[in-house]
Symmetry: C2
Subunit: 208 residues, 2 copies
């Protein structure tokens, strides 16, 4: 198909498609003449993936470029590909050194031991969780820190649902990354919106 049709099929405007191509998120088409190229289903699919990650995954163009580079890098084996993709969509935000951080490290470690979770202190999610706990301490939200086990229990339920969905065919690399990356980043947004909808219901029950 031509560029105009690609744009119509996906609903992505032509200038945006060209921008994604320049940024290396979408492969160029097969040249068919001067200033013309042919696009296939793989372009439609990739464009939809990129848009989903931008709009509802909250990912930056730079992060998406990294992800697409991983899909297109044949040296990355499947298992490593999925691990790399998961890491790429996980924010890493260190706490500032100091007593809040030390206390947060200790609390998180205790939580993971208590729940029998795997402990890898260098994981981006681990580092960010330490930062979140240090911040909650600093702004005086000790009630949230004390409720940590309730949140961890809910997180286990989510992770169980996530993992039930895995286990499809991962020999299709693009599909495998789609599953991990959409599941994680768009999944975070899904959970955040469901949380608010549930809050509205429960607070109505409590206060009316």
């Amino acid at each position: 198909m031509r560029m105009a049709e690609l744009s119509e099929t996906t609903g992505v405007p032509v200038p945006t498609i060209k921008y994604y191509m320049r940024e290396g998120l979408v492969a160029p088409g097969r040249p068919t003449g001067r200033n013309q190229a042919d696009y296939g289903e793989e372009h439609v699919r990739r464009l939809r993936l990129v848009r989903a990650l931008v709009e509802y995954g909250g990912l930056s163009i730079a992060v998406i470029r990294d992800l697409m580079g991983q899909i297109d890098n044949p040296d990355l084996e499947e298992f490593d590909l999925l691990g790399a993709a998961q890491k790429t969509v996980t924010q890493r935000k260190e706490a500032r050194p100091g007593p809040y951080k030390d206390e947060a490290e200790e609390r998180l470690h205790e939580l993971l031991v208590r729940r029998g979770w795997r402990i890898r202190t260098n994981d981006p999610a681990y580092r960010t969780a330490v930062g979140v706990l240090a911040t909650l301490d600093e702004v005086g939200r000790h009630d949230m820190i004390e409720a940590l086990d309730s949140y961890a229990e809910a997180a286990e339920k989510i992770a169980e649902a996530d993992l039930r969905l895995l286990g499809g065919d991962v020999s299709d690399r693009e599909r495998a990354v789609e599953i991990v990356v959409i599941g994680t980043s768009v999944g975070d947004t899904l959970i955040a919106t469901l949380r608010r909808l549930a809050q509205a219901t429960i607070s109505e029950r409590l206060y009316t």
Copy 2:
């Protein structure tokens, strides 16, 4: 205290403090002489709140400015203040019109009816949830849509934990907004990191 001490106490660099003041996120100090001002505990507290929202709440300066305007607006009654604050930290991202959107609207509506959740189709969280479902459909993640009830169940658990934490003293406006806004935005990050830590554990159990 002087600016230097304010910076030392909070760990926020002086240029950043000055930037927040120019943007209206933090009130100026009490002038004590030419080019000098005095800052109090309220400055320390506000700076910590702003930093928490920037660093772990993922909020923009514009959104935080709106929030601070709400705290400082005496015409907003407490209940409205909390509602406004919650809305301000909830992303609203509409789906593009079309069959994906229509189907997503229907599915979300059915979910809320099934679970007995409050239905307000104009809520930002509702609009964004429709967009997420339309996107999942478009990129072929029908398995996630089918798992919607599992995610909703986990979201209920989270919301129950959230609501147990409310009910403190809301006559302190800054505190009330802190509770809602930190709970929601930094809470989303907490849940996202716990989800990943739980995933790592469960996937290890499954695959090793």
